[in-house]
Every structure is written in structure tokens, then in C-alpha cells.
Symmetry: C2
């Protein structure tokens, strides 16, 4: 008998209730019944994105919505500031140049958060920069960038918008789009939404819409104006991912019932439990100074290939976590706190990491991390 | 968000694969398609019951099959030896007397296993005893009775059959019906079978069929002869629980693939992990001398009502375990090792019990039980 557990940075575990919702008979999307669902879902998305502006939804994974956040905002030749502190920061920069715009990169060491002063300086040095692209949580390193501080800076620049890849952050960390002035926030279903991959979201502020109006970049599937017109009629321009949207409706209803504050504090609790447990085992965190509550990147013990840890957890205990990417693939493993998980699941993950390290010959004190996680859970 | 976990002595957790199987479109039972399923299921049941004899299946819970094991074997006035060491031993005795037969009880202190010599003496003292009724695992106390030794004794009595309530044992412990001479073995779907409640099974040996032939007790729904005739034609006499049987087919296929030896050794491992963990916490086991691998009954700390432990686990951590029953309801809680559970689930249960005891004011060393369970798992 094999029981699988998934703690990957996406996709994540889907709850049985959501799975049942998605298993309901398929609806046709050009019906009043489905329009009511779209209306409900869009309201729910606005609640989570904390915006009175627009939230658009796409049948794509997160990268599709990232592409849209470039092709709807930047003309060829436009300059864009990209915070590049990991794989997904790199993706912003790649997207910007792929569509003929000019990325100005702020290179941040992997595992570190960007210094907001660097953003301020770059914007002052180059006032024609049209957009700042950043991650709320850099999935590849587990770093949470100081989005609020960066937003404060960007707000001071009338002709510059802030675009936040919050694919692994929205629904986990507090990111009030309107309050903080996050012009575009991008999300994806396979993270905190506890859904399978296949849905992506983008909130768009009035300031961002001004850029959209001036944008001549060719685009079709991810065209925001087309999509906005459709959403205004409670429909989508192209065929929506019907079952995922049924699941999303259920998840959003649950989130509303729980409340955002509880949602965020639960995520913070799980992340705190896991980080403290790893530290109790004597393991280093890859991003100790600005850890996200979505994903924890843990330094593998000296001399132990992180990919071996990942493989052993998978093969012996049927637990999916992720190794690091690129230059940290041998030294870092990543455990997510997103999905249909609770505090006891964090304890299970800690226990499994402990046993795995022991199996692999590291001198770990079994139970030491679990104890730390238990203490935090019982005091929560 | 609430995530529920069930470690009750039944019902137990059902795997998603089994749930999907049961969600398949309903079949009509009087069709060739379903007859093939019945044939496959009966072969699978014989494999698990380890018999070349008959295995009958009923749309009922376990008690229904227990009733049949009385009404098909005993005439009014017949004598039957009942091993009474808990709630379910009492049930045998009640059933025997309810149908006008005469129970001869061997009273065993709760938490203890029967001494086979007592069975030998009772049978010698009263040679007209037609049947011995016993539990393989007494669910109320977690005790495993020495079924093999008792069977050896009963085999020496030509006119006496052995009836084993293995509702919480078959599929967990090795109980080879033919090899050991277990004339009737009763099972129920909501235990090791990892199915919802609603199906019961009874294997019947040639020696038992002789009693059935002589039995004039009125019976209809649980009439074994009627059912045997139907099973011979790959059908059931009355409407079968179609979806549960679809699930059973899946479970049986999985068991065949895994093999009985692995099935039993996994159960033994989980039970060993849990018992050792509880002892590491300084908790007493209610049945330390003859524990089953199905259920562990744990003595609540001095002065702490076991029902409070059960309630706290449920309310704060959404974990279902069971309190003791009757005279041990305040002093014992019971955790099952059956169902869609693995070693990591045992660790989760241990961690949750630790936190709960701490929450309730007991001076428990968090992680101490987990560590013990981890050690056993990693060395398994």
C-alpha cells in the first residue's frame, strides 16, 4: 500500500471536498448557470486579492499570466526593472526581453531579499522605466521580497507600475493590492488555492490600465482588454477551465468563511513550525533573513546531495518535496506549506525529513525537530 | 480549514483509489458483468481468509455475520462456549442466549487473553458443547486471543466447531482458516479492508457445514445454505451492496498484489511503533501481554479522563480515536492501526497524542514518543 503526500511548491494537495466539487457534471460555460458562478468567483478573487479593481482569470498556468503582465504593459523598447533573485525573477527578465522590451535587472544573491533602496535608486537613475517586476515569494529560494516597501517607492513614480508575481504568495501572505498599491498581482491555482494547476489570475489597477491602453504589443489569448470586457458580462473570452472554476468557487467560499487573517496566520504558523524544526536539527535555512510562509528552502547537510534527500523521501516514504533549482540543486531542498495541509502535516514532514537524513547516514537526533514543531503548534 | 483524520477501531480511512472505485456508475447485480465481479471477489476473499472452503458475503455490518454464525450453527438448547473478555465476547454470549442456546462463558479479565487451558478444561467438562465462540482481536480491549492454540484444542473435539470473530483481525493478523482449523471466521468491511461499513463476511468449513445441516433455527437473511447456493452461481441471494463490492474488488486486488505477508508485517510494524511510542511517554498499555496489531488500548494518565483525551483530539486536532467502553471508558483510549494508514500516519497520531496530553496539563516530553516510533520505522 502506498500513501502519497505532496509538499511540493506546486502542485499541492487538493482537499477531498474540492475534488468532489470538480468531479461534478461539467457545465457549459455559455449558460446563465455558469455566468452566476463566474460572478461569484470574481467577487471571491477580489476578496482574496483585496482589490476593488479588476481580477482577470485565465485557463493557463501562472507563466501565462506572467506573460500577459508583460505583453499588456510593455511596448517593444520600453524599459522594465526586474528584481532577479532566483529562477522566477529570471523569468520576468526573460519575458521582458522576449517581447522586445529592455530589462534592467537588479541582481540579488539567491536566498536574499532585494534591498528596496536599490529599487529606489534604479528608478531615480532611469525615470523612463515603465514597470517594476518582482516576486512576492521567489519560489526557487523561498525568499519573501519586501513588496510593501517596494510598492511605497513605486507609488511615488507616476508613470511606473509595480507587477508582483504572487503565484506562490497570494492566499498565503497578506498582499492587499489596493492598500499597498500593487498594480498587477499574478496568481496561479496550484499554490495556496489548493487546486490543480490550470488557472491563473491577474489583478489590474487603474494605473496599470493606463499602460494597457498605450500598449501595442501583439497579444490575443492573454489580452486583458478582451478579457475585461468578458468578465464585465460574467463570462470569459475563451473557453474557461470549467471544472477548475467549480473547484475555485468552493475554495473561495471556504476562504471567505475562514477569513483572510486566519488564512495568513495558519500559513505563518506552519512555516514557523517547519523552520524552527529544521533549525533544531542543526540544518541551515537558505533564506534565514526573509523567509516566505509559502516555501522553506533548507540547506542539505554538508556533503549530502539535496537530490538524494528528495529521492529518498519519494522512494521510501512517498513524500514529494522539491530540490533546489540550477546552482542550488545539490545543496538545497524545498518544502512547501501550501495546499490542503495542516499543522500535523508539518509534523509529518519534519518527522520524514528526520528519518530520511538518518537513513542517509546523517547524525540526526530523531524527534528533535518534531518536538520543536509540536511546541509551536501547542502554543499557537 | 479542517482536515480530518480517523484512527477509530472502525470505520477507518478509505483510500482515494477505493473511493473512486465506489463512485463508479452503479451496476445492476443480476448481470453477467456483476457475476464476474462476485466471482473475482469471492476468490479474493478466499485468498485473504486462507481457505479453500466457502466464504459468504452479506450486506450487513459485522454483527449481522456474527448473528448468522449463531443462527446457522446452534439449535435452541445447544450449549456454546463463549470467551468473554470484553464487549464483543459479551456479544457472542448475548447472541447465543438470544436464540435460545445456552452460553457457557469463560470470563477473562478485560485486557487479558484467554488461557487456552481453560478452553480445554471447559470442553472436557462439557462434551456436548457444540461451538466455541471467540474474538481474534477483542476490539474493546485491543487484546489478541491465542486463536491458534484454541483451534488446536477444538480440532480434537469432533463435534465442536470454532467460531472466530475476526472482524477487526482478518487482513491484519495471520489467521489461516484451513491450516489452523478455524471453522467459521467472521469479518467486516470497515476494518482492515479499508472500506466503509456495510459488508460482512463469513468463511465456513466442512465441519461447520455439518452443524448447519442439523440446524433448525429459523433464519432467512443470514441463511448460509441459501447464500452458498447463490454464491455457487456467482450471485447473492438478496440485493448485494454493489458499490461496496466494487470497492472490495479493488482492495482485494491490492492485497493480492502486496501479498499477505507484507500486509501483516506492515500492520505489526504500525502497532509496534505506536505501542513503543506510548510506553516511551510513560503511558501504560491496557493489554501489554497480548496486544493485537489492530488496535492499541492505552491507559490514560492517572486522573485524566480518557474521554477528555478523545474529545480534545477531535475538537482541537480533528483526529478521531475511541475511548474505552463500559468499565474502561474513563481510563482507556483506543487507537487503531487499520485502514488506509502508513507508518507516517502512526507518527502523526503519536505527535497528536503527545500535544493533547500536554494541552491537558500532563507533563509529557514532546517528541519522545515520536522519536521511538521513528526509530522503529527507520529500522523496519
Amino acid at each position: 500500500m502506498i500513501k502519497r503526500r505532496i509538499y511540493s511548491p506546486g502542485p499541492v494537495e487538493v482537499s477531498p471536498d474540492t475534488a468532489l466539487e470538480m468531479a461534478r457534471p461539467i457545465l457549459h460555460h455559455r449558460t446563465g448557470e455558469f455566468e452566476a458562478i463566474i460572478a461569484e468567483v470574481v467577487e471571491g478573487l477580489k476578496f482574496v486579492f483585496q482589490t476593488r479593481g479588476d481580477v482577470l482569470l485565465f485557463a493557463s498556468s501562472g507563466t501565462g499570466a506572467m506573460e500577459g503582465a508583460v505583453t499588456n504593459l510593455l511596448n517593444p523598447g520600453d524599459k522594465a526593472l526586474c528584481v532577479v533573485g532566483g529562477k522566477f525573477g529570471q523569468r520576468w527578465s526573460q519575458l521582458v526581453s522576449r517581447f522586445g522590451a529592455l530589462p534592467v535587472n537588479i541582481d540579488v544573491p539567491w536566498g536574499k531579499a532585494v534591498n528596496p533602496d536599490d529599487v529606489a535608486r534604479a528608478l531615480e537613475a532611469d525615470p523612463v522605466i515603465k514597470a517594476v517586476y518582482i516576486q512576492a515569494c521567489e519560489t526557487s529560494t523561498g525568499v519573501a521580497h519586501p513588496v510593501r516597501d517596494v510598492a511605497r517607492i513605486v507609488r511615488g513614480h507616476e508613470n511606473t507600475v509595480l507587477v508582483v508575481d504572487a503565484i506562490s504568495a497570494v492566499g498565503v501572505m497578506n498582499l492587499p493590492a489596493d492598500d499597498w498599491g500593487l498594480d498587477v498581482v499574478v496568481g496561479g491555482s496550484q499554490k495556496a488555492w489548493q487546486l490543480p494547476p490550470g488557472l491563473a489570475f491577474a489583478s489590474v489597477s487603474p494605473k496599470a490600465w493606463k499602460l494597457v491602453d498605450q500598449c501595442v504589443q501583439p497579444r490575443f489569448y492573454f489580452d486583458w482588454k478582451t478579457e475585461k470586457k468578458s468578465i464585465g458580462k460574467n463570462t470569459t473570452a475563451y473557453t474557461p477551465a470549467v471544472s477548475l472554476i467549480m473547484g475555485l468557487r468552493k475554495v473561495l467560499a471556504d476562504i471567505r468563511e475562514e477569513g483572510l487573517e486566519s488564512l495568513f496566520s495558519r500559513a505563518a504558523l506552519y512555516a514557523r513550525m517547519f523552520r524552527a524544526a529544521m533549525e533544531a536539527l542543526g540544518l541551515g535555512l537558505f533564506a534565514p533573513d526573509s523567509p516566505s510562509d509559502s516555501i522553506t528552502a533548507v540547506c542539505s547537510p554538508e556533503g549530502m546531495d539535496a537530490r538524494k534527500v528528495v529521492r529518498h523521501l519519494s522512494e521510501k516514504y512517498h513524500i514529494t518535496i522539491a530540490a533546489g533549482q540550477d546552482q542550488i540543486k545539490e545543496t538545497v531542498f524545498r518544502v512547501s506549506h501550501m495546499g490542503y495541509l495542516d499543522g500535523l502535516d508539518m509534523i509529518t514532514a519534519v518527522a520524514a525529513v528526520e528519518i530520511t537524513l538518518k537513513d542517509l547516514g546523517w547524525n540526526v537526533e530523531l524527534g528533535a525537530g518534531v518536538k520543536k514543531a509540536q511546541e509551536i503548534l501547542t502554543n499557537a
